[in-house]
Subunit: 157 residues, 3 copies
């Protein structure tokens, strides 16, 4: 198994993962800064940034797992595209969380639509594999075409 | 590297991952609902559901890593089977955590036996690879047979 | 795709992942023990061990993602080596966190240099792939040599 063959199938996913890591570092730096300013007391700003960071981190493994599964099982371009949009939504959520007063925080969840889309991509990929295996008919190109078109719908706010 | 070849080796793991994502969504929805009901005050029910969710999420990356390593290094069927049982145990833990009074919460850890089994599978897979590489003898079929039998033992409560 | 071919490319990464899982289990056991001793009250020791564990767990998916991407995109030996050093740094951080008085906890972040190194490895791997694809020249062996040398620099404290 040549190394470049492997990279060919995952390089877009790796790029999105790297961007998400950068974003995590940005979040962590915000927390770090608040930690240093208020080391002994727990102010409202500290609590908000910690909570926003934790909510983002709680969902992070789920996001990575779904994105990579979708990318490996179906095709990587739409999965990476959905991943990018998820990161934008996450950025908005984090910034929005910090700006809110503590009485009206946004909910715990965000990016449900994008995660559902990636989830559906996984299921379609698995079904396509099972169909190919047991019936011998490969619908991959139609599915790819459809997935690429559907991923554009995620841009609708 | 044909896409279907890749999917063939991982589709059971992907299915278990998808089920675990659904379960995460179920947990997150519970937290979301409690967040919305008690936005300003931290009641006992809110604390319990948050804590249960956080304990599950803390162990989630570890579980995913061990399951995927076990599936890739040895064979995917027993790994996926152990994964399913882990999800059942996790569901029981979460529901049990909510039902308890705050004085007697169950501990922080759960599913230790299943994670240990997956851990052992990884080690056996690595050892088998090293034996094959340096001694030229491949015990893979005996190991597979044994692993499949051993995974059934996880059903014993 | 023969199973042993897959294992050949990832076995060092799997070993590091297994060691990190063992370390997670060690952290979780510390939390579990504190949970059992102080079930009703939240003492300072309980808060410190919970916080140290949570900070480590928050960064864990990021670490795994970066290490695996670096290992898959470039070469696994330096990635696994950097992973091992990260685990040593994490152990030091955790133990240091417990020993500190609550007034002077170490910051939220740790192991920034190692994660940056792995991050750079990923970028170099992606760039090398893109160069090979569009210009046909493969710099892989020079890059590997350089990365192996650079990973030794991580040992400098």
């Amino acid at each position: 198994m040549d190394n470049n063959k492997v990279v060919e199938n995952i390089y877009l996913l790796v790029i999105v993962t790297l961007i998400s890591v950068l974003q995590n570092a940005f979040f962590a730096n915000k927390v770090e800064k608040e930690c240093k300013t208020n080391n002994t007391q727990h102010t409202s700003a500290f609590e908000r940034v910690t909570c926003a960071n934790r909510n983002c981190m709680d969902l992070y493994p789920t996001f990575l797992a779904v994105m990579w599964c979708a990318g490996l099982c179906l095709s990587q371009a739409p999965a990476a595209f959905a991943g990018i949009i998820y990161l934008v939504v996450r950025q908005k959520y984090f910034v929005g969380y910090l700006g809110q007063t503590s009485q009206s925080t946004p909910g715990y969840l965000f990016g449900k639509r994008i995660l559902s889309f990636l989830f559906l991509m996984c299921i379609v990929g698995i079904l396509n594999y099972l169909l190919t295996r047991y019936f011998g008919s490969n619908y991959k190109e139609y599915v790819d075409l459809f997935t690429n078109a559907a991923s554009a719908l995620l841009l609708i706010p």
